[in-house]
C-alpha cells in the first residue's frame, strides 16, 4: 500500500449461507483513479461494491479508506454504512420520491448538521456543477432518466466523500444516450479529480471509463490491469473471451516452439499462436482470435485456410463475413461486400491465443 492508496480491500470473503460469493478479493484504488469492477452476472462485482459500502456483511478480510479501517474481521471492526462517509450512485438512482431535487441533495448535509445558509450554497453549487440548478424544486418523477442520474451523482458528491462508488451507472439509460453519458461521466470524474470505483458488466464501458479494470469471475479476481493490458494481453481463456468479440475454436496442441504453439483445430485448420497453456502435445486446447484480427487474404500461406463464406452482414461502418469452418462459425470483418463462395482467411500468429 502506498500513501496514494485511498481505498484498500484485503482478502475480502463473503457468503450467503453456504454459498460463497466473494472468495478472498484484494484490490487497491489510488487517489484520483477510476477502477472498474467488471464481470459477468454472479461474479460478485456488485457484492464487492456493496461490501465496501457497508451494505453487505463479509466474514473475513478488511477494508481501509484513507488509512482508516472501516471493516476488519480480525480486529472486529465493522463501521456501519452511515459512518463510512462514502458516496454511492445506485443503479436505480434511488432518489427519494417524497423529496424535491434540492431536498434529496441537501439531506446528507442536513444529517451532518450543516447550517442552512451554507447548505443552500453547497447544494446549489453541486447542482450547478451537474447542470441541474434550474430543476432544484422539481420532484424526481418529473425528471428524465439522465437528469435523475445526475441528481443521484450530485447527492453522492455533495459531502465530498473520499471515494465515490458507482453501481452500473449507465445501465438504466437507453443505448444511444449511454455513449454520450459515458464520455460525460469520465470527463466529470477526471475534472473533479474523484476517486471512483465503478461496477459494470459491459467491457467496452469499463475500458472507456477506467484507468484500471478488475475482472471478477466466480468471486475471485481473474486478472487486473489497464484497459490496454486487459484487452491485448489476456492471461486466461476467460479474460480473452470476456474482452472483445472473438472466434473461439477447439482443437489439440500439434507442436510447441518456445512461447508459441500450433493447434490442430477440430474444423481441420491448423494455426500457430501465442501459447498461454501448459498443455502438452496431443492435449485439448482452444484458440481465441479477436474478430478484428482475422483477415480476408488472396492466397495460401502460414496460418491461412480456404473456407466457405456463407453470408455478408452490413454493420454500418463495416461488413461482417460469416464463414463455415467444419462445425465452427468464423467471423471476419472487412470493408467491402463479398459474395458467398470459398475464400482464403488469414489468422495472424500474433493475434491468436492458445489456452
Amino acid at each position: 500500500m502506498t500513501d496514494k492508496t485511498i481505498l484498500s480491500v484485503d482478502n475480502l470473503a463473503l457468503s450467503y449461507g453456504s454459498n460463497p460469493i466473494l472468495k478472498g478479493v484484494s484490490m487497491q484504488l489510488r487517489r484520483g483513479e477510476v477502477v472498474s469492477l467488471l464481470g459477468p452476472s454472479g461474479s460478485g462485482k456488485t457484492t464487492l461494491l456493496r461490501a465496501v459500502a457497508g451494505l453487505e456483511q463479509p466474514h473475513t478480510g478488511s477494508v481501509t479508506i484513507a488509512g482508516r479501517a472501516i471493516y476488519d474481521a480480525a480486529a472486529g471492526i465493522d463501521i456501519p454504512a452511515e459512518k463510512r462517509d462514502l458516496g454511492l450512485v445506485f443503479q436505480s438512482y434511488a432518489l427519494w420520491p417524497h423529496k424535491t431535487v434540492f431536498d434529496n441533495v441537501a439531506y446528507p448535509l442536513k444529517l451532518r448538521k450543516v447550517a442552512a445558509g451554507e447548505m443552500g450554497t453547497r447544494v446549489h453549487a453541486a447542482l450547478k456543477n451537474l447542470g441541474l440548478d434550474h430543476l432544484a424544486e422539481r420532484y424526481p418523477h418529473q425528471l428524465s432518466g439522465g437528469q435523475q442520474q445526475r441528481v443521484s451523482i450530485a447527492r453522492a458528491l455533495v459531502y465530498n466523500p473520499p471515494v465515490i462508488l458507482l453501481d452500473e451507472p449507465l445501465s438504466n439509460l437507453d443505448a444511444k444516450m449511454r455513449e454520450e453519458a459515458r464520455a460525460w461521466l469520465r470527463n466529470l470524474i477526471v475534472e473533479m479529480q474523484l476517486s471512483a470505483l465503478v461496477v459494470t458488466h459491459d467491457q467496452s464501458e469499463a475500458m472507456a471509463m477506467s484507468d484500471r479494470i478488475l475482472l471478477l469471475n466466480g468471486g475471485v479476481i481473474e486478472q487486473q490491469g489497464t484497459p490496454q493490458e486487459m484487452y491485448g494481453q489476456p492471461q486466461t481463456h476467460f479474460v480473452a473471451d470476456f474482452m472483445g468479440s472473438n472466434n473461439v475454436m477447439k482443437g489439440r496442441i500439434g507442436d510447441i516452439r518456445g512461447g508459441e504453439a500450433r493447434i490442430d483445430l477440430d474444423n481441420g485448420m491448423a494455426v500457430w499462436g501465442l501459447r498461454r497453456t501448459n498443455a502438452a502435445i496431443g492435449h485439448e486446447a482452444c484458440a481465441v482470435v479477436r474478430v478484428e484480427q482475422a483477415q480476408l487474404c488472396e492466397g495460401p500461406g502460414d496460418n491461412r485456410a480456404e473456407i466457405e463464406l456463407v453470408t455478408s452482414m452490413f454493420l454500418g461502418d463495416r461488413f461482417e463475413y460469416v464463414f463455415h469452418a467444419g462445425d465452427d462459425l468464423l467471423r471476419v470483418w472487412g470493408k467491402t461486400h463479398e459474395a458467398p463462395g470459398r475464400r482464403w482467411v488469414s489468422l495472424p500468429a500474433g493475434g491468436v491465443w492458445i489456452f
Binding site: L55, P80, S92, A94, H98, Y107, R155
Partner: protein, 556 residues
C-alpha cells in the same frame, strides 16, 4: 429499522402480549377450577368433563359439517365468480366489485340477525313469500340453513384470493396455449386452473379454518333449535355449571386451537408455495376478456341473485326491522313505521356509550393499533435473523385463537395481573384484545406497505450518513404514509365489525356495539338490536365509503 435494544424491547412486548394470554388459556385448561381459586390444582378433569359431554361431540360434529359444507359451497362459487369477474366481458363488472366484498365487512352477528328478521318464521321475506305462495319452504334455524348461509357469506373470501391469483396469472402463458392449438376451455382447464390451484388450495384451508371459528351465525341461527358448534358450546358453558367454569372453557378453547393452529401453519406453507407460482409469471399484457355472448346475462343474473340473498335480504331486513314497531302476517307496513327504537337507543346511557366506544376504538384504537403494528413491522423490516423469524411465528399465533376465546384470555390477564386490573373495566382492555386478535391481519397490511419501499431508497439514506432510526423516520415512514392511512381505514372497519372479542370484556364502561348486540340478543331485545345493527352497519359503511374515496385497495 430500529437499533438492537428498542428492537428487542418491541419484540419482547409483542411476545408477552401474545403468549401470556394464550399461555394462560393452556394452563387454565389443566387446572381443576378457575386459576384464581386457591383450591385449583393441576388436573385433567376439565378434559374428562367435556369429553364425556355428548353436547361437546355433537358440537364438534356440527362444526365439521359447517366447515366442510361451507367450503363445498363457497369454494366453487367463489372461484367461478372470480373467473367471471376477472376473465369475461360480464356487463357491469366495475360496479359489482364493491358489493361483492360487502359481506366481509358486515359483522356476522349482524348478518345472522338480518337473516332472522328477513327469513325467520315471521321475517319480512317469509311473510311476503307466504302471502304470495301460501307457504314457506325454508327453515332458517336448521343446521342446513346455517351451512348454506355460512357458505354464501364466505364466497367473497374465496373470491378475493382466486381473483388476485387470476389477475397475477400472466396472459402470456394462456396465449402460448392458445397458439399451440388449445381452445378457450382447454386453456382454462389445462393452464389457468392448474396455475391458480395453489391459491385455491390455500383458500380451501382458509375457509375450513374460518368454519372452525364461526360464532356469530350459529349463535343467532342455531339457538332456537339448539344447534351448537364448538364456539357456541364454549359460550354456553358459562352457564352450564352455574359457577364460573373457566377450566372447561379453556379446555374447549385448547381443543379448538389444537385444530386451528396446525391449519394456520398449513396456510402459511401453502401461501409460500402459491407465491412461488406467482413469481414465475411473465409480463402480463392486457388480458383479452373471454366473450360470453348471451351467457353473460345468465352469469349476471346468477351474481345478482347471490348478491340479493347475501347482501340485500339481511341488510334490508335489518333496515326495515329498525323502523317498525312490530311485524307479522297481516300487518300493514305503513301503520307500524316508527323511530322509537332509535329513540330508545339514544335515551339509554349504555347504548350511547357503546356507540361512542365503538367509534373511539375504531378511530383512535385503530390508529394506536397501526402504530404498534408499525413498530413491530419496522423492527423486522429487511431483517432475516432469528428475531425476525420469531416475530413471524408470534404474529401467526393469535390467528389460531377464536376472538371469543382471545377476549376471555385477555379478560383473565386483566383479572390476574395486579397493576393491569384497574384497566379491566376501561376501553383499554378491549383495545388490547382487538389489537392482539387482529395482529396477523394488521401486520400483513403494514408489511405489504413496507415492502413497497425500494430497498435502495433506504440504503441510499444509510450511505449518505443516516442511522437506522433516521432512515425509518425520514425515508421509510414518509414513503408508506398512504399505505398506513389505508391500513388504518381497513382496521377501522374490522374493529367496528368485531363482536366476539368484546363479549367477555363487556362491563360498564367497555361496551362496544358488537358485544352489546350479542348480549342484548340473549335478552330478546329485538327492537334495540335492530337499531344498533343498523348503526353498526352505517359505521362500517362510512369507513368503506372513505376507503373507496381514497382508492384504498380492500385487499392486498
Amino acid at each position: 429499522m430500529l437499533q438492537t435494544l428498542p428492537r428487542r424491547a418491541v419484540v419482547a412486548l409483542l411476545a408477552l402480549s401474545v403468549f401470556f394470554p394464550i399461555g394462560l388459556v393452556l394452563w387454565q385448561s389443566v387446572l381443576s377450577g378457575p386459576f384464581f381459586m386457591p383450591a385449583a390444582v393441576p388436573s385433567l378433569e376439565s378434559y374428562a368433563f367435556i369429553f364425556n359431554d355428548p353436547d361437546f361431540w355433537q358440537a364438534g360434529r356440527n362444526t365439521l359439517a359447517v366447515a366442510f359444507g361451507m367450503g363445498a359451497i363457497a369454494i366453487p362459487l367463489g372461484a367461478i365468480l372470480a373467473f367471471i369477474m376477472v376473465r369475461t366481458d360480464l356487463p357491469g363488472r366495475r360496479w359489482l366489485e364493491t358489493p361483492i366484498l360487502v359481506p366481509i365487512f358486515v359483522s356476522p352477528v349482524v348478518l345472522g340477525f338480518g337473516y332472522v328478521v328477513s327469513l325467520g318464521p315471521v321475517g319480512f321475506f317469509s311473510v311476503w313469500f307466504q302471502e304470495l305462495f301460501g307457504s314457506v319452504p325454508w327453515n332458517i334455524y336448521s343446521l342446513a340453513s346455517i351451512i348454506v348461509i355460512a357458505g354464501l357469506t364466505h364466497v367473497p373470501h374465496v373470491y378475493l384470493y382466486s381473483s388476485s391469483a387470476l389477475r397475477n396469472l400472466g396472459s402470456d402463458v394462456e396465449e402460448a396455449a392458445r397458439l399451440s392449438g388449445a381452445g378457450p376451455f382447454r386453456v382454462a382447464r389445462d393452464v389457468s386452473l392448474p396455475m391458480v390451484s395453489p391459491a385455491l388450495l390455500y383458500v380451501g384451508v382458509l375457509v375450513f379454518f374460518l368454519g372452525f371459528e364461526i360464532f356469530g351465525l350459529p349463535l343467532i341461527l342455531g339457538d332456537p333449535e339448539g344447534h351448537l358448534v364448538l364456539t357456541t358450546y364454549l359460550y354456553k358453558l358459562t352457564n352450564k355449571l352455574g359457577t364460573p367454569s373457566y377450566h372447561l372453557m379453556a379446555a374447549v378453547a385448547t381443543c379448538i386451537i389444537a385444530v386451528t393452529f396446525p391449519l394456520v401453519l398449513l396456510q402459511r406453507a401453502l401461501l409460500k408455495s402459491a407465491q412461488r407460482f406467482v413469481a414465475m409469471k411473465g409480463k402480463s399484457a392486457r388480458q383479452r376478456p373471454l366473450m360470453l355472448g348471451p351467457w353473460k346475462w345468465l352469469a349476471l343474473a346468477l351474481i345478482l341473485a347471490w348478491l340479493f340473498v347475501t347482501v340485500v335480504v339481511p341488510v334490508s331486513g335489518i333496515a326495515l326491522r329498525s323502523v317498525v314497531s312490530s311485524w307479522g302476517q297481516g300487518v300493514n307496513l305503513l301503520e307500524v313505521l316508527t323511530l322509537d327504537h332509535f329513540r330508545a337507543v339514544f335515551e339509554e346511557d349504555t347504548m350511547i356509550r357503546s356507540i361512542i366506544n365503538s367509534v373511539l376504538i375504531g378511530t383512535l384504537g385503530g390508529a394506536l393499533a397501526i402504530g404498534c403494528y408499525l413498530a413491530v413491522g419496522l423492527a423486522i423490516h429487511r431483517k432475516n435473523d432469528g428475531l425476525a423469524r420469531f416475530v413471524d411465528y408470534i404474529v401467526l399465533t393469535p390467528r389460531a385463537v377464536p376472538g371469543l376465546m382471545a377476549g376471555l384470555a385477555v379478560f383473565w390477564v386483566f383479572l390476574f395481573v395486579p397493576f393491569l386490573s384497574p384497566l379491566r373495566s376501561t376501553l383499554f382492555s378491549v383495545w388490547f384484545a382487538y389489537a392482539v386478535v387482529w395482529l396477523a391481519y394488521g401486520m400483513r397490511l403494514i408489511q405489504s406497505a413496507l415492502m413497497q419501499v425500494g430497498p435502495e431508497l433506504e440504503e441510499a439514506g444509510r450511505l449518505v450518513g443516516a442511522s437506522h432510526s433516521r432512515v425509518s423516520r425520514d425515508i421509510t415512514i414518509p414513503l408508506v404514509r398512504n399505505g398506513l392511512l389505508g391500513a388504518w381505514l381497513l382496521v377501522f372497519m374490522i374493529f367496528e365489525r368485531e363482536y366476539s372479542t368484546g363479549v367477555y370484556l363487556l362491563s360498564p364502561g367497555t361496551e362496544v356495539i358488537g358485544a352489546q348486540i350479542v348480549s342484548l340478543w340473549a335478552s330478546g331485545a329485538v327492537d334495540v338490536v335492530a337499531a344498533l345493527s343498523l348503526i353498526n352497519m352505517a359505521l362500517v359503511g362510512i369507513g368503506l365509503a372513505i376507503a373507496l374515496r381514497f382508492g384504498v385497495k380492500l385487499h392486498d
